[in-house]
Amino acid sequence: MIEISGLGKTFIGQDGAAVRALDDVNLTVQENEFLTVLGPSGCGKTTMLKMIAGLLPWDQGEIAIGGAPVRGPGPDRSMVFQNFALLPWATVLDNVAFGLRMRGVGKKEREERSRELISLVGLSGFESKRPGELSGGMQQRVGLARALAVEPSVLLMDEPFGAVDEQTRRLLQEELLAIWEKNRLTVVFITHSMEEAVLLGDRVVLMSARPGQISEIVPVPLERPRSSDVGGVERSSDYVNITAYLWERLREMHEERSVVAGSGPSV
């Protein structure tokens, strides 16, 4: 269980201006929950995720995982990055094994384990390729395998499928769901896509910007296991209603901002 209470963070930009990236964020993520986070650009989604990962300090509040306060990166968490963050000089096998290596797992065991994960994400046969020889979708499969290899109980994903094409994205979503159904870990998944948030999440956290706050948490009562096949979840009225509702809310936020922005003298 991840408990976030009263989390706040102010960045001082290079021009000296203060940006309230997060303000009084309270959130509890249940064990084995798939939580998706949605919100306008700049609302602090990445900031919050990096804090959970232990990569970024905060100013106010507390984050605890399983009752223990977060003080830095830990073996219980791993992260999948939007731009993959693969080592260009290392092979697929070494990239997947990277996390295990940092955690001191011996060569033989780590390669064995990495091979398993490579086949889990459907990349068997590509072990000795370098990232530059792979497509975007394949690269993110490597990123996913690397994160799963260390057997985290919490998987943190920052727009992991944002940089791949639509078809690949759908395939990756299905694979992720299948993996999650099997392994049941806690997932915090940031996305820009309402459809993705609803398709994947048990709940959708809707954030608003300036200051970054949680504006609403929308439960998604769709049956599991879900898939995006024809006749799958996407046809159900719940799915349609929730995505429509999220879109409405996001548009409202956008309009509020335009009103604020437009309240000055017009040029």
């Binding site: 990569l55 992260m79 940092m102």
Partner: protein, 269 residues
């Protein structure tokens, strides 16, 4: 299906390679030289063939190889120093920006100073020995090494460092597994460019400071108005530089084959 590249006969592919073009331009250059040398050459501009003859003769002399040995002593030691000092300094400067603020001035001075101007200073303080030649070669080469290595460390994707930290990497592991490998292509480029400068330094110091070895040969042949021998000596130095740089280029591709600059078909920078 057979691809077009595969169906083409070997000789066509050979014609298409870089080497063919290079040989082609060289032949043109040699022809032009020959014509110029014959028509307008006079005493100090020998023809291409005269130069080749002189070159063959030159490499047969004991004097030449002695000169090569003495000159290259300074080159080898000076270049090794430049790499040995330049790489760590570049890495540290790339990682710690504050330190760089203090040292940038000196680096810029090294970059813009005409090195020839330093030579008298060097001679006055260190004398004419091997030491001052080594120092000059080092100064010549080290700037290229430092600047390239620094740039290399700096362009390592910060997302990779963050990724490593998220998996619990220590600072040491970040250096060993992210920064150094990430900067390796630039480190190799710095070493190659530094090598070129080291050769320059080696010759200049002998021409301007201590009339010795290869530099001395050049001065001597000039004094005797021996055009062919003069040109042959210079050609020997050029050939050495080209061979060394090609070797460095080869090593660069071998060590960092993933770098875009080292991919097959990529042009030399």
């Amino acid at each position: 299906m057979v691809t077009a590249a595969r169906r083409r006969p070997a000789w066509v592919r050979a014609l298409d390679s870089n080497l063919t073009y290079q040989i082609g331009t060289f032949v043109l250059f040699a022809l032009g030289w020959q014509v110029y040398g014959t028509v307008w050459g006079g005493l100090l501009v020998p023809t291409f063939t005269e130069t080749v003859e002189a070159f063959v003769e030159l490499v047969g002399t004991r004097e030449f190889w002695d000169a090569m040995f003495v000159s290259n002593q300074a080159l080898v030691i000076g270049f090794a120093l430049a790499v040995g000092i330049g790489v760590p300094v570049g890495v540290v400067l790339g990682r710690f920006r504050t330190l760089e603020r203090y040292l940038n001035v000196y680096l810029n001075i090294l970059l813009v100073t005409p090195m020839a101007a330093i030579i008298p200073l060097l001679v006055m303080s260190v004398g004419f020995g091997l030491l001052s030649r080594v120092i000059l070669v080092t100064i010549f080469a080290i700037v290229m090494v430092i600047v390239n290595v620094r740039a290399g460390v700096r362009q390592v994707d910060p997302a990779l460092i963050q990724m490593a930290r998220s998996f619990g990497a220590s600072e040491r592991e970040i250096w060993m597994r992210i920064l150094i490998p990430g900067a390796l292509p630039s480190i190799m480029t710095g070493i190659r460019l530094g090598l070129g400068r080291a050769v320059t330094g080696m010759v200049i110091v002998e021409l301007l400071m201590v009339s010795l070895a290869l530099g001395n040969l050049i001065l001597e042949y000039r004094g005797m108005f021996n055009g062919p021998a003069l040109y042959a000596t210079i050609a020997a130095i050029l050939i050495e530089a080209l061979v060394l740089i090609s070797l460095a280029r080869l090593l660069e591709r071998k060590v960092a084959p993933w770098a875009p600059n080292n991919q097959k078909g990529a042009n030399q920078r």
